[in-house]
Homo-oligomer: 134 residues x 2
Amino acid sequence: MRAAFYVCYILNHMVQYTQAHFNASFAALSDVTRRGVLEQLARADASITELAEKFDMTLTGMKKHVGVLEQAGLVTTEKVGRVRTCKLGLCRLEEEAAWIERYHQLWDARFDELDKVVGELKRKEKAHGRRKRK
Amino acid sequence: MRAAFYVCYILNHMVQYTQAHFNASFAALSDVTRRGVLEQLARADASITELAEKFDMTLTGMKKHVGVLEQAGLVTTEKVGRVRTCKLGLCRLEEEAAWIERYHQLWDARFDELDKVVGELKRKEKAHGRRKRK
């Protein structure tokens, strides 16, 4: 009984962790500058100052964006002397891609189902029309 | 010259539209209740009241969530009498999936590049060690 409780407890924590991670990563992607920073860092590492210049922002503004990306595991930063260098993080957005893929499948299944219902209604309407004409 | 200007103007608008759409759809996905509502509507249409009950929320709270999903084109709603029914919208998150897929490729390329740099450094270090021993 106690083992089952622990398994439930751990599973519940895992689900909560994934959900919190999804919240953070999708929120990080919901801004054009942050998506731009990711595309930029995929080409080369950059300092906060370089990123701020490239995206025509204040240092404070860029620090906030990098903080959001860092929280989501999409970026890591390292301070050497006065320069904070930003690199891509270990999160490859794989789970997020899997969630969207599963949603595609559900979406397709739902619309196929609706298509069938509409098709059935059309057939019934046609049959009804034919009976009326007789 | 004027034609080129119009082409640029239209392209610029298209890019801005896509970026605004991405902002809205990723923001819509950044909440566990909103992701749950999408999964629920992929199974069957539901009224706001039913969704509020299912997710243990107030009607006002659920209306706000549905509003965010509607703005992103992920949900459509229709009011018949007093009941507002929610259905899946036409947005299948295809462009969002494509963005993430492209990011995967950039991410892989970046880490492959870094692997090569590390490999090169290791080789040089080994060669340097051998020379020292001689």
